[in-house]
Symmetry: C2
Amino acid sequence: MGKLKAFITMSADGYVAGPDQSEENPLGVGGEELHNWLVRLKAFNEAHGREGGEVTASSPVVEAWFDNVGAEIMGRNMFGGGPGPWGDDPWKGWWGDDPPYHNPVFVLTHYEREPLEMQGGTTFHFVTDGIESALDQARKAAGERDVSISGGAQAIQQYLDAGLLDELEISISPLLLGGGARLFDNLGDPAAIELEQVRSVEGVGVTHISYRVGRS
Amino acid sequence: MGKLKAFITMSADGYVAGPDQSEENPLGVGGEELHNWLVRLKAFNEAHGREGGEVTASSPVVEAWFDNVGAEIMGRNMFGGGPGPWGDDPWKGWWGDDPPYHNPVFVLTHYEREPLEMQGGTTFHFVTDGIESALDQARKAAGERDVSISGGAQAIQQYLDAGLLDELEISISPLLLGGGARLFDNLGDPAAIELEQVRSVEGVGVTHISYRVGRS
């Protein structure tokens, strides 16, 4: 069985999205700046089917996100759209016709919906019976490979809180957001979560820290 | 004129002290673990007049804390003791007879007190008329050298908020405290504070990130 791992970018003051998140501005005020380090990279452009971009110390870090991944899990907001039922002609999410996942993606939601097959090997499956069910389904789809949580913060928090997450990589951006969604929020017993630093990498305008996650 | 710089250790969830801080437990529940990476170092022992300890990638980071420093500023709690007046036979603080500063130290307090001259070149001066006065006095004492804020969080926050801090180095420890004193709290307009990542260093069980601080 593979690992369950998550990758997310956080501000120096601990936020993964800024204040006043909305459907129009899902990353909140100032939140897009979190990813300045990422969107300049060739590895990022390639994952989105585009050309150009830089190669930096962050490039192997980002390439490793996709290594040995056989399935993804994401929250409803990360897929696209706000709260409430999907409607009669539901939107196909933020990720375009050829999403960068190229794998089965299990979307945590309260509302049922038929699977959505996109180009390039991505199929979105909508899971309404909880995070453990989503993980079971993702593990089956991934076989021996890893399952990756694409975000957002709430999805990562739920798996962290349930003791199911094996690895967490935080990319720390040099900015203060001062409000919004904190990565380490909504945890029942944070002090019981043990982090072991596996490695850290100095990027350009970012620092990547990988943790192995355990429970005391 | 030298720079104003600060060094502090923070948990992965943004705390520099754990919950339930008290005079007996100034770092709060779990807070001592923040400094596991530090107390094992030879560079730390040497600063405290002790022998032994390890040399790691963190050693030059810690040695650089003391480079070119001509004066220190610290909060009252960092000096030692709780709130309220000093009393008739006041305590000489946490730092022993030969404190590791070997420089004039300006302590931010609401209560006047005569300067306290210790061994090894450390004299504590008690400043009651605010952070700018303390900085002026420290700069005079430091001459062309830098002024370093030894902590705690509140002292750093006040200088950060006033736009007076030039450099901030955060050492991120692999643990979650889940409560306590946040480094980036009590700031009037956090988003106006600009951070530029100068460098980061992978230590053993810690990651050091240095920021140049500016204002938009």
